[in-house]
């Protein structure tokens, strides 16, 4: 049992680290991208079909590459960013690259749900596009954005297991390295249980936070 914990705890930490850092970068980079996807639409506050179309195509391309392939495909880029292609930090790069377009599409959906009338009211009050984004779009879409961050975190957890399998460490590495290659079924079983608990916890907290700020 202690042996099992010795294996599990560092892996859990690695997974949490990978997921946390990836989520932070994904939100920082994906949120503006998603917002840009909305406000550059033809009928929005900063119409620009060139930006909109190129962003949209870029996102579609990134999203069409399966994560396992993307991970290997961008190894040169990963090396450039973190100096290595193996390890937890190296896993974060493809995780972020894969999660950004995913999250950006979800953000797009959230922001599009904001009542266009409220945006119009903002424009009529003389708000600039930046003020509309910061003071109207983001606050109004917040409950939905929180839910979509939750979905993204859970998605990153899934990807991180895959990244772990190819040298990123974490629970994925543990499950495949010990549970599969060394036939330690208990390790495999424990990993799965921990992942289930982790995902449940994140979803429940996400729902709670979202509900607490929902005003409709």
């Amino acid at each position: 049992m202690i042996e099992l914990l010795d294996l599990l705890i560092p892996s859990i930490n690695e997974t949490l680290y990978m997921v946390f850092i990836s989520t932070v970068f994904t939100v920082i980079l994906g949120l503006p991208l998603g917002i840009l996807l909305v406000i550059t639409r033809e009928d929005s506050v900063l119409p620009n079909s060139k930006i909109y179309n190129s962003l949209s195509i870029l996102i579609n391309i990134t999203r069409s590459i399966p994560f396992v392939i993307l991970m290997i495909f961008i190894i040169p880029f990963t090396r450039l960013v973190v100096g290595s292609s193996i390890g937890t930090n190296a896993a974060i790069v493809p995780l972020v690259v894969a999660a950004i377009p995913f999250f950006a599409r979800l953000v797009e959906g959230s922001i599009l749900e904001v009542n266009p009338g409220v945006i119009e009211a903002g424009v009529s009050m003389g708000a600039s596009p930046l003020e509309i984004v910061l003071k109207i779009l983001i606050p109004e879409a917040m409950p939905s954005l929180v839910l979509n961050v939750t979905v993204t975190i859970i998605n990153i957890i899934g990807y991180s297991a895959m990244a772990g399998a190819v040298g990123g460490g974490g629970l994925g590495y543990l499950a495949i390295g010990y549970g599969y290659h060394r036939f330690q079924t208990d390790v495999m079983f424990a990993t799965v249980i921990i992942l289930i608990i982790l995902v449940q916890l994140i979803q429940i907290s996400g729902n709670k936070i979202s509900n607490s700020i929902y005003r409709k």
Partner: protein, 327 residues
């Protein structure tokens, strides 16, 4: 105050361009309540959105206090928009913010100091009688209360002009009257010019000094509200009368006349004289008196069962200050 010249708006994204506004000319003086009325699709919403250039006109000029807003860049346009407030049919409040924060919103955009914002918001809250709702969220309010918050928000930046886009169309009759009298007070007490967009004739009748009637993007009547509704100069457009009298036409076989009496001219026994003079058989179908801008307007629908010369009858009535119209 507002001078709209040769304004046109064409939507050309579809294959057949849609002309939403066709050569509109309107002059609105300071302190007026000006009605823009028409059926849906008539172009009212496009027109009002051109006044603060939320929608880009295709051609024409719009002067606000002698400044042609078509010449303004985005920055100056945003500046002038702060002096042209707007309220909407759907209220368009921020759901994520309290009543207080909603009213404070335009003031925060202006980056006013907190104490000043606080004083102004509290003043407005009591003006719209919602001081007790300061910390409520819009979802906890009724439609009328929401519109009052929206009105308070629109007044926060001390505008010169208030654009009201179907502001009462989602409200029940009682609340509608409440909001309308509030608009009237804003106009009188704060000397704010109000442009009212509506499809409800009652709204124009009760508060608008002047009115334009839009149909298919064109002005089909324009002038003092009472003149338009009493059919003076025969400019009364179809949308007022024909539809609602279709029923009568089915039930009565004789010639139907709509007679309008304005103000003082209703003192003579005109109907009685008419019957004697022309030896008519006349059947009164319905009558109604309504008040437009506090002036009485009487309407009488009559059926002529037997008559010799309709033209002379109508002329006789018109000569006695009664507007007669065949329906």
């Amino acid at each position: 105050m507002i001078d709209i010249r040769n304004l046109s708006k064409v939507y050309s994204d579809s294959k057949t361009p849609i002309i939403a506004l066709d050569n509109i000319n309107i002059q609105i003086d300071k302190g007026e309540i000006y009605g823009i009325v028409g059926l849906s699709g008539a172009g009212k919403s496009s027109l009002v959105r051109c006044i603060n250039r939320i929608e880009e006109p295709t051609s024409g000029e719009i002067y606000i206090d002698k400044i042609n807003i078509m010449d303004l860049n985005q920055k100056n346009l945003r500046k002038i928009r702060k002096k042209i407030s707007m309220i909407f049919q759907g209220f368009n409040l921020l759901n994520s913010k309290t009543v207080y924060e909603n009213i404070a919103f335009p003031l925060k955009l202006d980056k006013l100091p907190k104490s000043e914002i606080n004083a102004r918001v509290n003043e407005l809250l009591s003006w719209v009688e919602l001081s007790d709702k300061a910390n409520s969220y819009p979802s906890q309010l009724s439609g009328g209360q929401k519109q009052r918050v929206a009105i308070a928000r629109s007044l926060a930046s001390k505008p010169d002009i208030l654009l009201s886009d179907e502001a009462t169309s989602a409200l029940d009759p009682k609340t509608t009257n409440q909001i309308l009298s509030m608009l009237k007070r804003i106009n009188k007490e704060m000397n704010i010019t109000i442009v009212v967009i509506t499809h409800e004739m009652e709204v124009v009748k009760s508060i608008c000094d002047k009115t334009v009637v839009l149909e298919n993007g064109r002005i089909i009547a324009q002038g003092n509200t009472i003149d338009i509704f009493s059919n003076k100069d025969n400019c009364s457009p179809d949308i007022f009368s024909k539809e609602e009298y279709l029923d009568y036409k089915e039930h009565y076989k004789g010639e139907l006349l709509k007679l309008s009496f304005v103000g003082e001219n209703a003192k003579n026994p005109i109907i009685s004289n008419l019957v004697k003079k022309f030896d008519l058989e006349l059947n009164i179908i319905s009558g109604n008196i309504e008040y437009i801008q506090e002036k009485p307007l009487g309407t009488l629908i009559v059926e002529l069962k037997r008559h010799d010369n309709l033209r002379t009858i109508i002329d006789y009535l018109n000569n006695h200050d009664v507007q007669a119209e065949v329906i």
